[in-house]
Symmetry: D2
Subunit: 362 residues, 4 copies
């Protein structure tokens, strides 16, 4: 019911506003006796942390996580794990203008329409700051997957396109992911994106991006045939990330123009003489809503940041027409920092489905 809770067996409840004293997340349903410490979580928070390059927001937040419960002698105990992250660089004055004006492309108007009140400081609950909680929960989800399935499980995302500029899959090199400010796998696209985003910022505008996440090592059997299809849950999770406007799995929208003969992935027996081996992966690792053992492949469209210096027409809380320019410290391309968030959401969905699969309960 809660709009702030994720999951069925692996669950988290996130809370906090952009400019309140802190944000946090309570992670529940974690099996007992899994090694966990703050550094396990911090590593992923650091990837999402603002201020890492000139292509992301300049807000300075250490995003240091504290574990307040659920871990004893370095092991999870099966009880809820409460994580706390203090907000330290909340400059509310930057946002004075948005107290009364509704920023186009933002939740300002709709939050007011829904609740009749909103913490307008930094977007309050609608701020992408909340995604730090998702990354923290995702770090625990990864621990479950690697501890219970195996260290070979990996969930890794990257930016595939910024504005009109596509990376070239032929040049993808996973080792490049951490060598540039874009989570790009194609080193040749990096200077193109740098120039494009520098120009975009100079224009007082922002850019959209295409993000892809892949999970390797996921066994067959996760998901269910009707309403808890694995891909349906992935679509929900990805579309719940701020600024995401589209989600596809495997061939995705490309499947519209494929023939049935080309789209269905042929099956052979793998080298071990028993595991199915698929000759292609148009399915994106999910057949009939259930994982097939192939790589799970999801892509999402991230819209350009709506907080821009270009003046936009809008209205204020009193119903007057006006204009707004959104100052402050904003990401020129939110798609970049969406990468660790999308990875985290995939980890959370897979951990939840893994536990349900193990429990034979779906």
């Amino acid at each position: 019911m809660s709009g702030n809770r994720f999951g069925t067996l692996f669950q988290y409840t996130s809370w906090g506003e952009s400019h309140g004293p802190a944000i946090g997340v309570v992670v529940d349903g974690v099996p007992p006796r899994i090694p966990l410490n703050e550094a396990d979580i911090q590593a992923f928070l650091d990837e999402r942390k603002p201020g890492g390059s000139r292509f992301v927001t300049q807000r300075k937040e250490p995003d240091r996580v504290e574990i307040l419960s659920g871990v004893f002698d370095g092991l999870t105990t099966g009880t809820p794990i409460s994580l706390l992250i203090r907000n330290e660089d909340a400059r509310s004055k930057d946002y004075g203008d948005i107290k009364d004006k509704f920023r186009p492309g933002h939740a300002d108007y709709t939050m007011q329409a829904k609740y009749g009140i909103r913490d307008y400081r930094g977007g309050g609950r609608s701020s992408a700051r909340e995604t730090a909680c998702r990354v923290a929960a995702g770090a625990i989800a990864r621990k479950i997957l690697t501890h219970q399935i195996g260290e070979f499980v990996s969930i890794s995302g990257f930016v595939a396109q910024i504005g009109p500029h596509c990376a070239d899959p032929a040049r993808y090199d996973p080792a490049q992911r951490n060598e540039n400010p874009f989570f790009a796998l194609d080193p040749a696209i990096v200077p193109v994106w740098e120039d494009f985003l520098d120009q975009t910022r100079k224009n007082g505008s922002s850019a959209g991006a295409l993000v892809e996440v892949r999970a390797k090592g996921i066994p067959a059997g996760l998901g269910a045939p009707v309403l808890r299809k694995l891909d349906a849950d992935l679509a929900h999770a990805m579309m719940s990330i701020n600024a995401v406007k589209g989600v596809e799995i495997g061939a995705g929208f490309g499947a519209v123009t494929l023939s049935g003969a080309d789209n269905a992935d042929d099956i052979r027996i793998g080298e071990d003489g028993k595991t199915p081996m698929f000759l292609s992966n148009h399915a994106g690792g999910v057949l009939g809503g259930i994982s097939s053992g192939q790589e799970v492949v999801v892509r999402m469209a991230v819209k350009p940041t709506s907080s821009i210096l270009t003046p936009k027409q809008t209205i204020d809380a009193n119903g007057n027409e006006t204009e707004i320019v959104t100052k402050g410290r904003h990401d020129p391309c939110v798609g970049i920092r969406a990468v660790p968030v999308a990875e985290a959401m995939m980890a959370c969905v897979l951990a939840d489905h893994w536990l349900m699969h193990k429990a034979q309960c779906l």
Copy 2:
């Protein structure tokens, strides 16, 4: 938890296999004192019903719905509404070959991997026959919306593309929707699709489709800012429909190449002097996860039917490599019959969010 249950306040639980004695759905959370009879539901089932043209499966199912509970003197009572649909034309012999072989592109292998048993007759629980239950539930969802919000609420879908052939939005005429076997709004595309699908069937193959659904008359305020974003729930619902591989809202994947200045929809005051009027709808009616009062616009990619006469490589339940040709009565383009299902799912999501909005509980 259940993989067969939809919703939070407006809920349904579906059950039944393709070739069992019946399928059905229990719809709960329906407010009391709403007029409802079997004809209200039958009208929508008839749209989804197989056998309507040569472009859909030739299985003959009247799909006649019986209301077994929850309605008294023609009004809902607030108690669960149980709906039953008998299976009448289940020719299990047609499917003998799939008992032991896994059809590529289908759930056969993954269902076996998950449960260690499967009702292989007609795909069992994984069959799209289950979507009749969704359409029945959707008919009740529509009643809630029109009874409580107003008769002006409408949810209408159409096919926008089949294979490589796109309809032209400039020619869209809503009155055309029921005048052709494709739920097409563009009359000029109809003969193109007829030829294309006739040829596709002759080739023993099948075709993908792009389906769009629009909801008019939805008030601002439905949804929530974090994990129950209206668009996230819509993405889940649409991706849970058989054969759907991608979902987008508003500008969707097109937003990747838009600039922030172009993408954010400018806001003015409407003719009534108070309601916001948006100058474009890249948002697809949802801002920050909450409806804005604009038209809600969702598109989805439907893959080509995997049941085809073209031989495909596969394996059998004993781990031997083999080949399969899927005979039987199949849709050459499942995207067509996906239209009433997608409408129903949008109605269900909106009814659920409407009730949560009214309850101020999200």
Copy 3:
């Protein structure tokens, strides 16, 4: 959310009114590959069935169950199991008087206050007829427990007191349970209860009862320390049975007068040299909300039937004061037929907790 759904992993959704065409239940979360047929369920329905003696209602219902889905080749498939029971002896004319008058002690007034409409025929959704669905679901719950834990698991209930007449535990003989119309274990109390109930009926009144249910063979570890305590879930389940007004576990209300030294059950090592053996069972098999491996013991107070021939003061739907005599075919002591229902609810709670325990998910 739904008020008609039970459980977390083992779940059921019940539907139907006393005098509608049918009642039924959709049982979901049943692990695959468990043998199940209609006879497994029918045996328990027959225990609850009306008309078995002069001490229960004379309504004649065969309560024949049909399995409509979820079972294939005699085995569960992991998909929802839909069960249907037709109503065959609904004499709506018997109940004409209650259309406008609210029966004291019944849900008539509160249903009207809540929904503004009610199916008054036989109590509609508030009728104890719904408990047939619980018994059917409970039969499946038992199959899960015996199939997965062992055939030694048993859940057995009995009547311990009717009106002021208590059975004597010193004379309890489990073999007596099916040898009398009361589910009594003490044969000496049977004639006392017969005389008492015959007299009660002659007086146009009804009697309360104390029902006890015990579960043997339940392993340690079911439950959780805070809000999903096993005893809390049992209390919920038992109190949800029509006419139950109190629930206690182990020493129950008797614990108020025990000293801490007497109440805490001493622990020794059992004969196998490792399993804990408790020297008493004041805890009723649950410590800190988690099963200890001892017998789980629950008792509940069942109020006297409110449908009696003695005239009672009441009001009608128009707000006028009036009087009512409830004719029709009613149980003089609903506590008797509550026994199989209470057993079923305990089976459902234990199956649900067993699955959660096995899944390590609570």
Copy 4:
């Protein structure tokens, strides 16, 4: 699913261990624009706070609550309210002995059996310290009830019996509740309980108690006819409180010996000429699972504290038989501090049902 979450629309998730750095609770589903500050919550925490008299534990905890989110300008915003309470007087050395030995009557053995690990310090997650979170959540629940229904709503509990010594309802005076260390309404029983508990402590033992809670001003219509009966939810909530072994509503176990004619509460029209007026309240304010507008009356049995100085037989983690004496700072009668907790749980259940009733969603 989570064992640490309460509620459907009004919800909370509690976390924290007795001797960890902090405990806390995230309260979600609170309607927007309700005035709320820390003092509103602190007042109730102070009632439950340890150290108030010689009849409760001597642990010194200020139980100072911090609001970390969900409140803006003194009003709730509809987003989750995170509450934090630091643990300040955790003397882990007091509990060294229980690291390896299982205390009879406690969750030590069952927690180990369930999770294979436990934070043994002060009982960890099983400690009644967690109930501070419930009291904090309950304070917010009360705000919802009084803000939305009216200031006349009151939820008040008291101790009715300690060991064998019953208070006399004929002498009940609500004004006495805060004038003695027992939440007693009968001033004449106070010295009796003082002497009894002083003697009990000298004997190294502890005492049980009977607690009663009453809610006034609750409108008719809260609850539902089948599995979300208001009394079933109350039974669950009360039985989930540490040490509670029995729950009854209205006449409760006393209903077993009442005749149907005596038990059903006659109905007349009240002074306003329209509201039903019941001539007695054997129902305890709930008919067929739905509130009737009468006072809601619940009683619960609280077992004597299991932490006592009297030596008890037990086993250790290695399976050896041994003996244990539980030193430390324990309540001689936990029933006393259970009063504010039971009130809080009733407030939470009623707030949840109130929101569901308002939403017409059950």
